[in-house]
Symmetry: C3
Subunit: 318 residues, 3 copies
């Protein structure tokens, strides 16, 4: 935790930038805090006044309707005021630097920035720069991290599997380009999952991936053998146009999750996907819509987890 | 009403997809419910708490500032949380299917989807797919229907003419490409208007239009003769560039509503237009801004009618 | 004040279109009203209910994330409902006129329009057109005026310098193309600043600029001599590509504000900039981030000043 900008001097979560380096108590605290927020969404009036009058800026330098929407809903359920900013088109094109943009928004008395940026480290840069009463949440930076996705994934696993310490989890697909996979691996390791596997063709695995504490498989039938959780990754269309993969059909044949391949996992294994799915590329529709799929509960829990992160951050002394 | 997905088993409005097939009692109930909402807009604080904490998604797959804005205002006056999504640019371009997008938003605990889509039937498709506690409003699908526009039009007519059963109504212009005209015709028929006319050049009339229960005219002076209500349709610029029409000037000469042509209608006839207007193409400014025009009241009543639809849907058991 | 559409018959502010022609009492009233709003932003719950249920339309015909955001925040802190409309893409492209767009939004029971438009006079046109209960704020029209920027600038000066009647203020840069400069000059004159200077190359000065009541300098060291306030203007990139300027480097050499040039001003001079800054073009980073810079307080005060303008307008009888 040396020089960890996420944790303040009282050991509280000051920013959420990356799951790497988070103490297990904080990860558990986020998951526990999210629990009651699941039921807020089921009430007649889906609002709690925890963040009333707070100004939360969705600062998206990269377009993302889905992630932006989940943060917007989470913030509105907490009664915050939400300002959506898609920055590609405006100030940045006028030549203003990232930190000048941030300084200006901070001067508008922002309480929190939700940041998505194509450059790894953008959220860290902003977190190190802002005044101590402002909180930063990384909503995806380059290939680096997408911590709320990792957290909602482990929240979902806990909901369906109760314990982490007896699980085998397989993450399947384009690990190399995936900030989601990185955040998942860190979260699973921190929570004590004894066996995390990654399954992918060699061209989609980063060199030295084993150092993240995972077991590497290039074959689905071996990699899925007796796992409790299967996490599919989205295959970016760009990868298929590049030299990394022969074709979508070929990829589906070897790495697409079908009922046949899923049969190698435990009978009660759950299937997860961060979305949006490419049906027929990384996952077959019978599996995506099947009884073992928890893909839509992931979305629902994602709101609760983001509400938890936001309310914990605002509650942190600074 | 066989297999009508708009009506639930208790006979309540579950979705608003099309005016076609709606029981007259439901149409009247919407109009009656809208009445007090007109005065909400005239209060000092223009809000009622009917939909507090409800999450309403404006799901626009086709751009429309005007319609999206009226739904946004209606929802905010009901104290709902509104999430605007312009989908063309994001998930759809990432290859996600329409129903996956809808499933994901539903998993964020949406209460209502307001859907605009270039494909006829898109709102129906979504309504048949979602869970029973979610309501769908069609805000325009292809050339098929735009039911809230049809409802606000008959609400406006009732405001100015009191009764429907003694009226002659003329709809003028590009009936062929107009979802608005279709919804208007169904609404007028359901409410018992004895004579609905359409006036248009043959190239802008769908084949078999008489089967909708209308009288067809190709000549304005004959078609407008003694009518109580004149509804002008917007002429899309695209039509004029195509082979359907010689030119905007020519169109205006024969079908543009001028004071001279309007004189053929009853002296107290009202003039309506769904907007946005092409002044000097389908309507002359002296008429658009004249004493018989109720074009701006249509907009005002449109908010009240949309508030009525939303509050009725949310109140429906499911 | 002859025919001044900003002031109603009771002498109250009806619209804010331009600082030119505003009585000094109204300017002072805006500044005084803004004072307590500065502290609203420092509270736990940054909201006051002054504009609850009011519908405020951000009507931006020209893109501007920054200005739009400050108005949106100001309106939300006053508890208003805010509708953002970027008009370039929608109705205007469908051929609707500006005033038809405004009429339609007014018919949705708008209470206030915040208008930005590339054409000088657009906000005036709208103000003269709308019904008396609707208020218009000019958020920048062509090269003409940007009154809330001028007001926040004088608010900032008053915060740091207390009095206006003993000040020397220099405005540096592209005065010719700057609506900001025009609004600043009028505000400073109205408040009785005895000496307003403009410093610029001749190619960036409008002919007859002296008639605005300013002293003209082409040399920074002379123009900055003993001033209390230095206001830097943004240099639009377009200017540098045109024939008006040799290059950004050349411009910086002669007119960029460096610590060296700033030393000609009084030791306690403050440095202002409306943003977004071009670091290394019109201002050096050491100055922008230095002890004399009040550029970020300008942003903070901008929210309070806009809250003041909005609440004064809504409070005006009509």
């Amino acid at each position: 935790m040396l020089n960890n900008p996420q944790i303040n001097k009282n050991g509280e979560l000051q920013h959420l930038l990356s799951i790497e380096g988070l103490p297990v108590e904080i990860v558990r605290h986020i998951l526990d805090t999210a629990e009651p927020f699941v039921s807020v969404a089921e009430r007649e009036v889906k609002k709690v006044p925890l963040l009333r009058g707070k100004a939360i800026f969705n600062l998206f330098f990269e377009p993302s309707t889905r992630t932006r929407t989940t943060f917007e809903i989470a913030a509105k359920r907490l009664s915050a005021d939400v300002i959506n900013l898609n920055i590609s088109a405006s100030s940045q094109s006028k030549g203003e630097t990232l930190l000048d943009t941030v300084d200006n928004l901070a001067a508008m008395q922002a309480d929190m920035f939700i940041v998505r940026h194509a450059q790894s480290g953008a959220a860290h840069l902003i977190a190190r720069h802002v005044a101590p009463h402002i909180h930063v949440v990384n909503a995806g930076d380059g290939r680096h991290a997408h911590p709320t996705q990792g957290l909602l994934d482990v929240f979902t696993i806990r909901k369906f599997k109760k314990e982490f310490t007896n699980l085998r989890v397989a993450i399947v697909g384009d690990v190399m380009h995936s900030r989601v996979a990185r955040s998942q691996i860190h979260a699973l390791n921190i929570l004590g999952v004894p066996e995390v596997r990654v399954i992918a063709p060699k061209t989609l695995l980063p060199t030295g991936v084993e150092q993240l504490g995972v077991h590497v498989y290039n074959d689905m039938t071996k990699g899925l053998k007796d796992v409790d959780v299967v996490i599919m990754l989205r295959l970016q269309n760009e990868r298929m146009r590049g030299a990394l993969l022969p074709s979508a059909q070929e990829y589906f044949k070897y790495y697409g999750l079908t009922a046949e391949k899923l049969a190698y996992a435990k009978p009660d294994a759950i299937v997860m996907h961060p979305g949006p799915m490419n049906r027929g590329v990384e996952i077959d529709s019978t599996v995506a819509d099947g009884a073992q799929s928890v893909i839509l509960p992931q979305v629902t829990y994602g709101i609760a987890v983001r509400m938890a992160v936001m309310s914990i951050l605002v509650g942190a002394g600074s």
